[in-house]
Symmetry: C2
């Protein structure tokens, strides 16, 4: 079954560092890195100015890459409450911009991303980075290193979308088969 | 000392219910209610659509009332983690819109609001509602009741801004006095 190529912009949300990774490809075909970077905002700036800066820089990424899908890490508040609030707000800005442009959004948890990329939902940062390098046929770890998770998110999105569409195709085939049997 | 009148739009952030209250007045003068309402978004809609709807309706409020200041409740994640994330994201949208328009933002914690309005940082909802009715010379509790906290936020903002400017004025006076003494 052939799968359509897609361009996915992955967002590893954060206020101080927001990782961005753009990957192009289709499930079952080689994937390639299209763009990568990190948006920084100053911890000493007022929160509203940081959100505005993030929105403005994310907008530039969307203008430049015009992705088919935006993949955002699903945020949990297990750790530092203060950090998590900023992370959630940064994710919220990415979601808002996606909705404004009518770009589909998919969210993946950190363990879904790790499992998709390394086969192990509890893989560490180094293992994820090594697999990202291999999957995208890079010569070295992506720089800045903060963007590795965003690339992993984009890869995860392409592969999961492939799995989802395979399941949907199989279900459709099965429905057609059953419908034919019922008609007989 | 005369204080300038200001129009404050209070935002009690939330994804399912976001309270809005607009209050006009100056510290030491009677305050009046200018507008009040609640923005609802459906819990069954995708997160990005809820954020987009919130942004679009908040924009209408800002267009209609053109406030001098936006007062937003400072969000803590003491309680339900899932709710707090949505609350933080809703607050983030309000902050972003304020920054885009260059409208100053002030954030107040729930206990600061309660203390400002009732004199007691641990006042309950009924006590806050009763004081909001009295301060704004309303005939009955504001409707929808979800908007009471947004009105209390706006009131708190006007009074705290008054206190802040009084302190600043007193400091300025003292500096001038000391400067004169030093010159002598």
């Amino acid at each position: 079954m052939s799968q359509e190529r897609m361009k996915v912009l992955g967002v590893d949300p954060g206020l101080t560092r927001c990782g961005i990774g753009v990957v192009v490809g289709a499930p079952g075909s080689p994937l390639s890195l299209s763009g990568v970077g990190v948006i920084h905002t100053s911890a000493s700036a007022p929160l509203e100015q940081r959100l505005l800066q993030l929105e403005s820089e994310l907008t530039k990424w969307l203008d430049q890459y015009d992705p088919d899908v935006i993949a955002v890490e699903r945020v949990f508040s297990q750790h530092n409450v203060r950090t998590v609030m900023g992370t959630g707000q940064a994710a919220g800005i990415a979601l808002l911009l996606a909705a404004k442009r009518g770009i589909p959004v998919m969210m993946h948890t950190p363990s879904e991303v790790k499992a998709a990329v390394t086969g192990n939902g509890r893989a560490n940062k180094t293992q994820v980075a090594q697999m990202v390098v291999r999957i995208l046929s890079l010569k070295e770890a992506p720089k800045p290193v903060d963007s590795t998770d965003a690339l992993a998110l984009a890869i995860c999105n392409i592969w999961r979308a492939g799995a989802t569409s395979k399941i949907q195709a199989a279900l459709k085939q099965e429905k057609t088969r059953v419908a034919k049997l019922v008609k007989k």
